[in-house]
């Protein structure tokens, strides 16, 4: 389970923990690290308060989908996380 973050995103930013990339292909073949596709699915770890008159819709614990190149990679407490604007989030699963 994703550890609750002690980091507070500013404004409409959201911190997302990307889901672990699948280690095996559908046929059961183990794929090397570089061939793994970056996941586009993750769990919201922390969400900012939103912008003026526009509160953020997602909340901690939501599983979300996001664009392939969305967000900035940051490392907090040893975890590789992404911080992105809520507008980079496409949908809640």
């Amino acid at each position: 389970m994703a550890k609750k973050s002690t980091v507070t995103p500013l404004h409409d930013r959201v911190i997302v923990k990307p889901a672990a990339a699948e280690e095996k292909t559908a046929g059961g073949i183990i794929i090397p690290d570089t061939a793994k596709e970056k996941p586009q699915r993750g769990t919201v770890i922390a969400a900012g308060p939103g912008k003026k008159d526009e509160p953020v819709t997602v909340k901690t614990g939501d599983t979300v989908l996001y664009g392939k190149y969305s967000g900035t990679e940051i490392q907090i407490d040893g975890q590789d996380l992404l911080i992105m604007r809520e507008s980079d989030i496409l949908a809640i699963v």
Copy 2:
């Protein structure tokens, strides 16, 4: 028929299931996969609530036309879908 999605698009996003590409040309010749044109027609699987004061116009089940390079490809429950902003949708058929 398109399976109802359990994914909720954020704001003005819409999830569209592209129509299957035509397997045969008008003359009945079977065309290989790479030569098929990406369809620009699909079915709305899920639509977000819209933006502030601007509800989304399309609804689940609508057949829509969209631009050739619109949307981000996502895979949900094994289906290849597109998620796009409603402004990328050109018309309802």
Copy 3:
């Protein structure tokens, strides 16, 4: 005559049927297909409802002029049409 379309453009989009390109030059010489200039004149087949507080000005049946590279080519009921924003339309003839 242009067939009435069963497609409803979204927001401020307009569907235009381009006028047939002239088959002969002024001197009566038949020009091959690739040398024909794309027409910039067409007939409105369908117009969207417009944007909030900004209804669309053109209406079905209007002959309009538009920029050379305006619009997206779509095929509806076997007709090659263009779908564009009303702001791409320059004038009503």
Copy 4:
């Protein structure tokens, strides 16, 4: 004199008939067609109604100056005209 156009420009568009390029230099030398500078002066043939709360300032018959690469070339009733936004017009002479 410029013939009154039967074309109605949309919104803030203006149709301008470019002034004929000078056939002779100041010294009386006749210059070939390709060496003639595109004129930046023309006569307003038709003006649109303007945008919401912003009527168009120029009117049919005005001689106007415009930027070198302004407008789209269109042919109406055999005349080579330019259609441009009023914001491309620099001044009324």
Copy 5:
């Protein structure tokens, strides 16, 4: 003195007569035409009425400073002038 122009700039445009480029360097050496720096100082010949709720600040006769590549060159009554938006004017001397 700058001749009063019969040209009326539209909206927030201003017509400026560039100051003559200095013919001599500080040391009295006459410099050839191509080595002269384009002046960034000129006299306002005519100013438009401004935009909605934003009248133009400069007035005819003001000496103004403007950016090196500001404005469009136009020729009116044999004078080489510049027409620019008031926002291209940096200061009144």
Copy 6:
């Protein structure tokens, strides 16, 4: 500890003192200067008053995360600092 700055940022600017880059890798190997990654973590030294109706959220002493290429490097009282807009700050730790 970060010395209080005598510099007042304008509007929504924030002055940040970047955290010192780690001198050793996790395995204890000392890394040369050029191989050190620019930190993305720092301490707020001074924050501007914000923009009209939008006060700045961060305050002096906050530890913040920011994007890799955010801000302009400035030197104040011998310290290498960054000055950035508050919108470049991703989160408060």
Copy 7:
């Protein structure tokens, strides 16, 4: 001391006299002209009235910091000055 300018910046422009570049390095070595870094610190010589509802914050005499490539170089009364928008000013020292 900076001479009071007789130039009035328009709108939100500010005229800044860059601080003289340091002639010696910390170790006392005299550096040639081309190796001197452009200063990012200067004194406000004149400030415009600001934009509608947004008066300018800096005032004549303020020492300010600005971005490396901010502003346009102008020469007034033999002084090399910079004219920039107030938004290019980062902080008041």
